[in-house]
């Protein structure tokens, strides 16, 4: 070979995570925010000074500081401890409901590309689910199932199915028309082979970006439903219900509401930052 060929500089596939999340300042910040909150939630039984629903004698609406980092509420419970335990609800929602919704969505998305009837059916169903704003959907589901953590998880999983289904479908259809897939097909590869070998692996990467966004949205939905009183059942704490309680006492002191506000914001922002960094890593 006598002619020098210039090495191409594109391609990020394998290194997206490392480059996007760890080396990107934004991604690192997101990772730190999420890790801190998740660790606090996991370690809640160890680090919380009081039980989630423990009523402390004589501590009624105590201001922040001293024995009670964030003060106490009107029924003498330590808000800091409740915040730590409240995080656990979000952990379920983020790390169980979202992945379940994503997996179901991906499965439906895969099915749509294999069968015309399944495609039409799924598309129309997605249309219908997406026509309900998420919170309205949540209200409908709550009406049927009654409030609770499970309901919140179902709402979130249900809302994520069409999001992932559409995304997977689009990227599978794009990949299916690519020359390397066609060349395999010409040489005798069947649908399943193509799906397993080429289409699915290549379509999964954009989903990591969406996963970050969806987790961030899930924290928001949990907060919003609990805030409306449709989330966890009292007296158990969740971040949304703590904000609701905090607002009730906001005229006493605005500080009661600050703790849960900060934690929710950290989580939502953290997931969003990770997702943005992943997207930036893909483009780079």
């Amino acid at each position: 070979m006598t002619v020098a060929e210039v090495e191409p500089a594109e391609g990020t596939t394998g290194r997206t995570w490392r480059r996007g999340v760890l080396l990107h300042g934004r991604g690192l910040l997101g990772l730190v925010l999420v890790t801190v909150v998740v660790a606090a939630g996991l370690l809640a039984p160890l680090i919380a000074p009081f039980g989630a629903n423990e009523q402390i004698e004589g501590a009624n609406l105590v201001g922040p500081g001293g024995a009670h980092l964030l003060g106490t509420d009107e029924v003498n419970r330590d808000i800091w401890s409740r915040v730590l335990f409240g995080i656990r609800v979000d952990l379920i929602v983020v790390f169980v409901a979202v992945p379940v919704g994503a997996v179901v969505g991906i499965a439906v998305g895969v099915a749509t590309t294999m069968n015309g009837l399944a495609d039409t059916l799924a598309q129309r169903l997605f249309d219908v689910v997406l026509a309900f704003p998420v919170l309205i959907l949540g209200i409908g589901v709550t009406a049927v199932m009654g409030p609770g953590v499970v309901t919140v998880a179902v709402v979130i999983a249900l809302a994520e199915v069409p999001v992932f289904g559409r995304l997977v479908r689009t990227s599978l259809l794009t990949i299916r028309a690519l020359p390397y897939v066609e060349s395999s097909r010409v040489m005798g590869a069947g649908t399943w082979w193509l799906m397993r070998r080429h289409m699915l692996p290549n379509s999964l990467e954009p989903l990591t970006v969406q996963l970050g966004v969806s987790m961030s949205v899930a924290v928001f939905i949990e907060g919003a439903l609990s805030f409306l009183g449709l989330g966890v059942r009292p007296p158990d704490p969740s971040l949304g219900s703590l904000i609701r309680d905090g607002i009730r006492n906001v005229w006493q002191s605005p500080t009661f509401v600050v703790g849960p506000l900060v934690v929710v914001s950290m989580l939502v922002l953290g997931f969003l930052l990770i997702s943005q960094a992943l997207a930036a890593g893909r483009r780079a």
């Binding site: 219908v128 309900f132 961030s216 009183g229 914001s265 939502v268």
Partner: protein
């Protein structure tokens, strides 16, 4: 173009139909006898029977659905079991307040998106990009119940410059200055995340457009960057931004439920919240249907706007 739009209609109608079936099913799916639930725990058997008869729960299911849909179309919404008032008037009042709030939020979002994205792209400074992008991320990330609470704490509790919630006591039209005071915080709170999402999208698509070959053509002709952004890149970026705006309207409808709860704004959101907590399911059904209807109509309007903005759809056809 008419053909393009006609193509969109069947799926919109299907969505409405399927959503109505689902919403109708809500009442059937709630655990226990709906009539008992609606009449309340202390109701006499006669009262329960009366509720059952009024709801038509003793009729065949298909008959019930058709009757329910017919009532809905005629805006005959029955009476609220909990509040004891005519549902139609409740919905009408709530609808006015919600429309005012949503439109104000939409205005906030659109103005913010246009100003920040066009301003940012025209200024073309790295530090400004970084600041805007950081602001945007935070604005998208902060849930409405967080910003709402922060606004109340700051402007109503600590500084006491704006009312903490509610609608202007004398209506919106008679005292516009008061109306603005009452509207400011909720509209800002509701419009901020939508505006930030729209800003991010419009900025991205303006930047993509500025990379497009036709922009290089224009630059090579000596046309100024400002003029290229305003008269060439923007018209190309708008159709997809309108689509995103359409999706954001859906988000605003959902967000309104929260914002109305935070600011005690007596709109549909507050109504639906009270409907849920009071187990007033027929009212909840009406409100759910209403929100789907608004969403579907918004999507159709988005399609119309898109078709009108893009000559490739407006005129149709390929090379002559």
């Amino acid at each position: 173009m008419a053909r393009y739009l006609a193509g969109r209609l069947p799926s919109a109608l299907f969505v409405l139909f399927a959503a109505s079936v689902l919403v109708f099913a809500v009442l059937r799916l709630i655990p226990g006898d709906p009539a008992v639930t609606l009449a309340g725990p202390d109701a006499s058997p006669e009262a329960v029977d009366a509720v059952r008869a009024e709801l038509g729960l003793d009729q065949p299911i298909l008959h019930q659905y058709v009757a329910w849909l017919g009532d809905l179309v005629r805006f005959d919404l029955g009476r609220s079991y909990v509040l004891g008032v005519d549902n139609a008037s409740l919905v009408r009042d709530g609808l006015t307040n919600t429309i005012v709030l949503t439109l104000a939020a939409l205005l906030v979002a659109v103005l913010m998106a246009l100003a920040l994205s066009i301003g940012g792209v025209l200024a073309n400074r790295r530090w400004l990009e970084a600041v805007l992008s950081g602001f945007n991320t935070i604005a998208v990330a902060l849930p409405t119940f967080v910003t709402g609470t922060l606004l109340i704490v700051l402007l109503a509790v600590v500084y006491r410059v704006l009312p903490a919630g509610g609608t202007p006591p004398e209506g919106f039209a008679s005292r516009p200055d008061l109306a603005v005071q009452y509207l400011l915080m909720p509209a800002l709170c509701l419009g901020l995340p939508a505006g930030a999402a729209l800003t991010r999208f419009l900025t991205e698509s303006l930047r993509t457009q500025l990379e497009a070959p036709y922009v290089t053509t224009a630059q090579a002709l000596g046309i100024s960057r400002r003029r290229i952004v305003l008269t060439q890149a923007l018209p190309n970026a708008l159709p997809s931004a309108v689509t995103v705006l359409g999706v954001q309207v859906g988000a605003l409808l959902g967000g309104a439920v929260i914002v109305e709860a935070v600011f005690a704004w007596p709109g549909l959101g507050l109504l639906i919240e009270s409907g849920i907590s009071g187990r007033d399911y027929p009212l909840v059904q009406v409100l759910m249907m209403l929100s789907v209807l608004v969403f579907v109509v918004t999507q159709l309007l988005t399609d119309v706007a898109n078709a009108w903005l893009d000559p490739r759809i407006r005129l149709g056809g390929a090379a002559a």
